[in-house]
């Protein structure tokens, strides 16, 4: 069984290798090959899952060591895998959703001549993501961590000829690198503290280390998580990442990769449990982000950007939960999974809409689409209900648990974060309703398609359409609708199943541990409040966007709105704080290197030269002056000799 873990990673890796190295010959079947291999690893995942269920709680985790990777005296890193319930949850999510999105992409990327490469990248991503979750030590995890970063970089910038895409890709990678610094330092700290950085020994002996060290490690891990999971202050890249093809946004920037940070924190639970300050930091980050993302989501007219904001905020929930410690871990993961379903579904829906609307992304130019793309409407709608936490749907269960846990943190901070979480829920309901209304309801606000190159962030003709022609919305092919349907099912029932006599909790508890917090409010109170605020949010949204027609040109809006449209000035801040100062610094250094360091050397040379030409003048060609110099020399010589004797 253990060896299958390797196969799990190997399958998509093989796919990536074949698709990227293989020549044009593969163009015709490449996408199917990629999908097949993704499916394969999903199947393997299922087999392992079945096998795991076959064993009892404590003995479910299996591990295997392939080979010794970097052995330098006490520094021993192996390529070895560990598959426990936590990893398994991710494996299934990744391979499952991954396979669906492969399938979706078959249709979505149909008209792109570089489709083979696209699938190669997707497979590469799967491999890296799987490596990330099955690695049994932090260094190997780092490899997967960066691997997904690379895949994300390649896929965001898939349409490299668009400067915006290339820039977005670069931005994503570099912001993530900042997070990686955190991960590296965390690993170093572990090595110097424990002499190892493998999960089991580190986590097992965490209690031996000083709290200061643990806090340090925790904060560094948090930094890493912020980078990968687009948490404040490293969230700025996620919005731009929407430059990538929609399936990518669905898979990487909604369902899986961005949740890696949550995985990291949950995985390192024992460390955080012993470092309350670090935990507090995590909670704060999560809370801030969930509001931040929600607010941004309200202001965006670009459907994908709106969803991106929502993703950010939802992950905020997860991080918040993870920060709560044992009372939150399970729910963080649970929300992660349910979110994986409905957010992926929403993105695919959005993709389907764009597909039908000449790749228009501005919701203000949608409207009344429910009649034209029913399947999309339904699936999207279910996803919508799930995310706003409509009772009975998956989002309802997972989010509700988190809010409960937040209050259960107890004390003032419990109240604060709890109410923040509630507020977030309200805003979520608002902006998602807004999206829903603007897209599928109201009257048509369609515009003739702009010509391709002038398109704002338009994806190049997924389906050839001449400039200037009106869009003629239509339902997408089966390869796209099927995944949407499947995901819709997920978003409807997942939560319910997970909560069926706490199956999910029982499943994860052996790994993450769990303890019930003592909430000041009863579960029912919380639930009731949650539903109430949700309804309020929906109502407000309907008042604003449902009753009166939506203007095609966005109104100026309040200060907050305008700020939110600009991602709450995050990029502007970064620009001033880092980009500009940085460029000044580099320019200054370049100058210094030329004039200063190099100039010093050249200066010495010049000095010698000047000295030389000055001394040359003594050689004036007159015998008599030569004679003088000789005479003087002789005199000095004599004097010196006598002097020597005098001093001696």
């Amino acid at each position: 069984m253990e060896n299958l873990i390797g196969a799990l990673v190997a399958a998509p890796l093989l796919g990536a290798a074949v698709l990227l190295l293989g020549g044009k010959a593969l163009d015709r079947i490449g996408h199917w090959l990629g999908t097949l291999l993704a499916g394969t690893s999903f199947v393997i995942g299922l087999i392992l899952f079945a096998d795991m269920l076959g064993r009892s709680g404590e003995h479910r985790a299996i591990s295997t060591t392939l080979y010794s990777w970097v052995p330098v005296n006490s520094f021993q890193a192996d390529v070895s895998f560990q598959l426990d319930q936590l990893s398994m949850t991710f494996v299934l999510l990744i391979t499952g959703v991954g396979t669906l999105i492969h399938l979706y992409s078959v249709g979505y990327m149909e008209h792109d001549e570089r489709r083979r490469r696209f699938f190669g990248y997707l497979n590469l991503f799967l491999a890296a993501m799987l490596l990330l979750v099955v690695a049994d030590n932090y260094l190997l995890l780092y490899v997967g961590w960066e691997g997904v970063g690379l895949a994300s970089y390649l896929l965001i910038g898939f349409w490299q000829h668009k400067p915006s895409a290339a820039t977005a890709a670069k931005k994503a990678f570099i912001v993530n690198r900042v997070g990686d610094v955190g991960l590296s330092i965390a690993i170093m700290l572990m090595f110097t503290t424990f002499g190892t950085f493998a999960f089991t020994p580190v986590l097992a002996s965490a209690d031996k280390a000083s709290e200061g060290t643990l806090t340090g490690i925790g904060l560094m891990l948090l930094l890493a998580a912020c980078g990968k999971s687009a948490q404040v202050p490293l969230q700025s890249w996620l919005g731009d990442a929407m430059e990538g093809p929609t399936p990518v946004s669905a898979l990487i920037h909604a369902a899986t990769m961005v949740t890696a940070g949550v995985y990291l924190i949950t995985r390192s639970g024992p460390i955080f449990n012993l470092a309350p300050d670090a935990q507090t930091a995590v909670v704060v980050v999560g809370t801030v982000t969930l509001l931040f993302g929600a607010i941004v989501g309200c202001a965006k007219d670009d459907i994908k950007k709106a969803l991106a904001g929502s993703t950010m905020s939802q992950i905020g929930y997860m991080v918040l939960a993870a920060g709560l410690g044992p009372i939150g871990y399970v729910f963080a993961i649970m929300h992660l999974v349910t979110h994986g379903f409905f957010k992926a579904g929403l993105f695919l829906g959005a993709g389907s809409v764009m597909h039908g609307m000449n790749d228009e992304v501005d919701m203000r130019k949608y409207g009344a689409l429910r009649k034209y793309m029913p399947i999309t409407f339904v699936t999207f709608g279910l996803g919508y209900l799930a995310i706003i936490g409509f009772p009975g749907l998956s989002g309802y269960f997972s989010k509700d648990k988190i809010i409960e846990a937040a209050f259960a943190k107890g004390g003032t901070e419990g109240w604060i974060i709890g109410s923040c979480a509630l507020l977030g829920a309200a805003i979520t309901a608002f902006y998602m309703t807004r999206v829903m209304l603007m897209t599928f309801f109201g009257e048509k606000r369609w515009q003739p398609a702009p010509d391709a190159d002038a398109a704002p962030s338009a994806e190049p003709a997924a389906e050839g359409h001449a400039a200037g022609e009106m869009p003629h919305p239509h339902e997408s092919p089966w390869s796209m609708t099927v995944p949407m349907i499947v995901l819709a099912f997920g978003s409807v029932f997942a939560g319910f199943l997970f909560n069926l006599n706490d199956s999910f909790l029982k499943w994860l508890e052996p790994v993450t541990g769990h303890k019930e917090g003592d909430s000041p409010l009863s579960a029912t109170t919380v639930t009731a409040t949650t539903v109430t605020v949700m309804v309020i949010g929906v109502a407000v949204a309907w008042l604003v966007y449902g009753r009166k027609p939506v203007p095609v040109v966005a109104p100026k809006g309040s200060l907050l709105t305008r700020a939110a449209r600009r991602d709450l000035l995050q990029d502007d801040f970064n620009h001033v704080a880092f980009v500009q100062t940085g460029s000044y610094l580099t320019r200054g250094l370049v100058y210094l290197d030329l004039k200063g360091v190099d100039g010093l050397v050249n200066g010495t040379a010049a000095t010698v030269g000047g000295l030389s030409s000055r001394m040359r003048r003594l050689q004036n060609g007159y015998v008599r002056s030569y004679a003088v110099s000789m005479f003087g020399g002789a005199a000095v010589l004599v004097a010196a000799t006598l002097l020597m004797r005098a001093v001696a």
Binding site: A605, V608, G609, L611, S612, S613, M615, R616, L618, Q619, G621, V623, S625, Y626, A627, S629, M630, G632, G633, A634, V636, L637, V638, A640, T641, L642, M644, R645, A648
Partner: protein, 549 residues
């Protein structure tokens, strides 16, 4: 008063009957190297006097080569008979030393001169005048430059074959110079090799004004310095009552039998110190050490290039040999007085030589300044005052002299209408036009710069090592830094030759006769061999590093 009495008695006895002044006893065999050279020189004079003009060149060349080869053979024989080591002693009534350093340096000088004579005899570079091949020397020294007389002489195909005997005389003098065991011999030898050199400088075929100016400068300054030398000798004689190195050393160390007169003068250190300093100055002038270097660039530039090469190589060997002997045999007791002084001179010489060379624009002047810098390096070895110092200096001299000869030989090849094109700008792109010559010159330059695997590096290392052992670490550091500066201008020439494009009307590279070719080849071979396998020659220098007294 008593002293004057003794003198009178001397006279009277001398005049009296039954008193015989013993005839001096000369070991001709042991002096044979010098004697052979002088013999050849005299023979050359006779040949020039009596042979018809056409056959003079051949005869002179034959005589000189034969003489030098013979001399070299004689040196080898003496060395192999142990005169360099255990049988070393003072010959000719203590006037001339026959010992290791003497023989080693004499051998070097003879060999250098032999190669130099090849370059003197080169007759393919200058354009023919009316079918007659001509060499680097003027048709008629006495003819005014540009005058009818000169034209006539040139037309008649006159050549100055006197250069060969002159050279031989100079060589003879140079051979005695490092072997001189008393100050008188030293002085005479100095004049014997200087006077011919003055003349040789004046005999260039092209640019005669420069040539004559060089001669005048060299002569006047040379005479000036030798006057100092002589006065120094006088003072030393006054101090010690004798001019033999050994004798002076004894008096300095106080082991000599004291006469009242001697007791009086020997008490007066001023005589000793001033005298020593002045003699030192005379020798430093010859080696071209700062501040007595001023003549070097002008003379090197003005003199006919083969002569420059000969001077630069041989004179340095001879002068440093003499310097070593004076310091190690006559004035070892004054070590603590002259070492600091020489430290100063060495540092000054290295620095000034290297720095001033940086802005030179004429190849010959450049090499002149480089020779000054090298004099500084050698001085660093001289002040080591260890046996290592002696051997390393001798090795350096041998290595350096052949490189120098080769370099100047290459300079004679690069020519344009006006003769040799010595301005650096004319050398641009030489590496493109004739890679071989440029490469050879590059090798010599790298040797000068002391790049490893060339003789220059071996020599430099030996000298600096000796200096460091002798406790002159600061000298080593200054030496290292000034070599860095020196490297700059050697490299500049290489850049010029290889990395800059040739100018269309650039100079041509003349194809030399086997004579010059041999000279250059010899230079290259020694450069490489002494660079890669110096051990044998180092041993030789080491064995030969003991002065007799």
């Amino acid at each position: 008063m008593t002293a004057s009495a003794t003198v009178h008695s001397l006279w009277t006895t001398a005049a009296g009957d039954g008193f015989k002044i013993p005839a001096p006893h000369i070991e001709y065999a042991q002096l044979s190297p010098v004697l052979i050279v002088f013999g050849a020189a005299v023979l050359g004079v006779l040949a020039d006097a009596f042979l018809p003009r056409r056959s003079r060149y051949g005869a002179q060349l034959l005589i000189s080569v034969a003489g030098l080869v013979g001399a070299f053979g004689a040196v080898l024989v003496l060395a192999s008979n142990g005169y360099a080591t255990d049988k070393a002693h003072l010959a000719a009534m203590g006037a001339v030393a026959v010992d290791g350093p003497a023989l080693f340096l004499q051998g070097t000088i003879v060999l250098v001169s032999l190669v130099a004579v090849f370059t003197f005899a080169e007759r393919r570079l200058e354009p023919k005048t009316d079918g007659a091949r001509t060499d680097a020397f003027t048709a008629q020294g006495s003819a005014v430059p540009g005058s009818e007389q000169e034209k006539a002489a040139t037309k008649a195909g006159f050549t100055t074959t006197e250069v060969f005997p002159l050279t031989l005389f100079a060589v003879g003098g140079m051979m005695i110079f490092p072997a001189a065991a008393d100050l008188l011999t030293l002085f005479v030898a100095l004049e014997v090799f200087s006077l011919p050199l003055y003349l040789l400088c004046a005999l260039a075929r092209r640019r005669r004004m420069l040539s004559q100016e060089a001669a005048v400068k060299y002569f006047l300054l040379g005479a000036f310095s030798s006057a100092f030398l002589l006065f120094g000798i006088a003072l030393l004689y006054g101090y010690a009552g004798t001019v033999s190195f050994g004798g002076i050393a004894d008096v300095v160390s106080g082991t000599a039998p004291m006469t009242p007169a001697l007791a009086e003068t020997a008490g007066n250190d001023a005589l000793l110190l001033i005298g020593g300093a002045m003699v030192l100055m005379g020798l430093l002038f010859k080696v071209g050490a700062v501040p007595f270097h001023a003549w070097t660039p002008d003379v090197y530039q003005g003199a006919p290039t083969p002569v420059t090469g000969f001077m630069a190589a041989a004179t340095k060997v001879a002068a440093f040999g003499a310097l070593l002997r004076l310091l190690y045999v006559a004035l070892p007791g004054l070590r603590w007085d002259w070492r600091p002084v020489l430290w100063g001179v060495a540092i000054l010489t290295m620095v000034v030589g290297a720095i001033v060379a940086v802005t030179q624009t004429d190849v010959k002047r450049l090499l002149a300044y480089s020779s000054i810098a090298h004099a500084g390096f050698i001085l660093a070895g001289v002040v080591a005052t260890t046996p290592d110092g002696i051997s390393s200096v001798m090795f350096y001299l041998a290595a350096y002299s052949f490189v120098t000869l080769g370099a100047f030989a290459v300079v004679t090849l690069v020519r344009d209408a006006g003769g040799e094109a010595t301005h650096l700008s004319r050398w641009a792109g030489l590496g493109r036009r004739s890679p071989l010559v440029a490469a050879v010159f590059a090798v010599f330059l790298l040797a000068f710069a002391g790049i490893p695997l060339t003789s220059g590096f071996a020599g430099k290392f030996a000298v600096f090592k000796a200096a460091a052992d002798g406790g002159a670490t600061p000298l080593v550091i200054v030496g290292v830094l000034s070599s860095a500066v020196a490297a700059f201008f050697y490299i500049r020439v290489i850049v010029l030759m290889f990395f800059s494009d040739p100018s269309p009307e650039g100079p041509t590279v003349a194809v030399p006769s086997p004579l010059t070719t041999t000279a250059i080849a010899f230079g290259v071979v020694t450069t490489v061999v002494l660079g890669i396998l110096p051990q044998y020659f180092l041993d030789l220098a080491d064995k030969a590093s003991v002065f007799v007294r």
